[in-house]
Amino acid sequence: MFTGHDAREARNGGQALSPDSLLPLPVRVGRIRPEMADVATLELTPALPFAFAPGQFNMLYVFGLGEVAISVSGDPARDDRIVHTVRSIGAVSSALARLRRDRVIGVRGPYGSCWPVAESGGSDIIIVAGGLGLAPLRPVIYRVLSRRERYGRVILLYGARSPAEILYRRELEAWRRRLDVDIAVTVDHATADWRGNVGVVPALIPRTPVDPDHAVAMVCGPEIMMRFTVDALRQRGLAMDRIFVSMERNMKCAIGLCGHCQFGPAFVCRDGPVFRYDRIAPFFDTREI
């Protein structure tokens, strides 16, 4: 049922920013929204319409410093902006998170495979996100909600470290007010003034009201969390070819040449980051590959 999903199909009607070369194109920073202490969302203003498929990533280049791969986290229906949510980890990501409006960075992409949003028409959709893993899945949510009639139940399960580290909190609250989406949020740690759920996100899965034979799960977050989540989904009855995960590896060239992101026989940049779970199951639990 779910075959490969060629990233090139994502570019219908839009412009890819030099995906087949190593040359970044200059793009101006429009708006910067602080999400939490070390996380910011950048809205970039491309000179030409930019099209991407949910799940894809761009290479963002801070001139004079370096490049980093960041998932596109905006609305795929909006081709007038490129949205990325960045956490300050290393030199490049920290510089990105500190950018000011009207600064110029380099962008090349989009790269990689995408979530099976179109192919999942008629199915229940279970989106399981952990921490910043909600960023690569947010385009899925936008796309599914914009075409809500095409899908069965839509369920979002989101886990964060603490209440203060819930990403996109306003949007989560807005989605929750809809009558046609089930949203459960949980945190790993909280003090007693938090009235929500405390616990790990995989523990939400046994209670999820979904038909496992007609559901598709899309999972993104730290790999440990994804391992536990896949286990819980499989115990819930979902077949391995109905579970999709987004892998993360150190990406340098993004075009399948340098080998830094090799994952078994695949390159995450070229064959991922979104993988159908049955295709990578033999490598998923391997410590060093």
């Binding site: 790993d188 740690h189 007693a192 759920n197 405390v198 790990v200 209670r207 440990i224």
Partner: protein, 154 residues
């Protein structure tokens, strides 16, 4: 079949339990309710009962003097509170606070332990279920302790 016996056998936690065991458990059981904010028990108190949540949610907390309690887990309908009644010293290891109106089935621990000693088949059926539930909790706790959402340099 009497009311409590029916309630016991209808609980997912006791799924597959024979009716003879349902009668034994219900003989030690009673219905209880706790208002929002009320504590079911506190850490180090004797675990004289265990609870099966029928409605509502319960926050498991660890207290620290001078600070807000830390919530370590939220338990909901169908969850069991807890395994402390099974092994000595039979004392609770955390606080449990009703997050909202909570209805539970409370089972007298000493009553049920005595029945398990007298009927090892009953004891084994309960042990299987509690071991499974505690194993799931332990697995979840490991994931929490791993603090996987903490920022990490690659």
């Amino acid at each position: 079949m009497r009311g409590l016996e029916r309630i016991v056998l209808d609980q997912p936690f006791f799924a597959g339990l024979g009716p003879e065991f349902g009668g034994a458990i219900s003989g030690c059981a009673r219905n209880l309710r706790f208002a929002a904010g009320e504590y079911l028990f506190h850490e180090s108190e004797p675990a004289n009962e265990f609870y099966l949540i029928r409605q509502g949610s319960v926050a498991l907390e660890l207290h620290s003097p001078g600070q807000q309690p830390v919530v370590v887990a939220t338990l909901r309908e169908g969850d069991i509170l807890d395994g402390s009644w099974l092994v000595p010293p039979y004392c609770w290891t955390f606080d449990a606070r009703a997050s909202e109106l909570v209805r539970v089935l409370g089972v007298d621990a000493r009553c049920l332990r005595e029945k398990c000693e007298a009927d090892h088949d009953l004891g084994y059926e309960l042990m299987k279920r509690f071991a499974g539930a505690m194993g799931e909790r332990l697995r979840a706790m490991r994931l929490q302790v791993a603090d996987v959402y903490r920022p990490r340099r690659s």
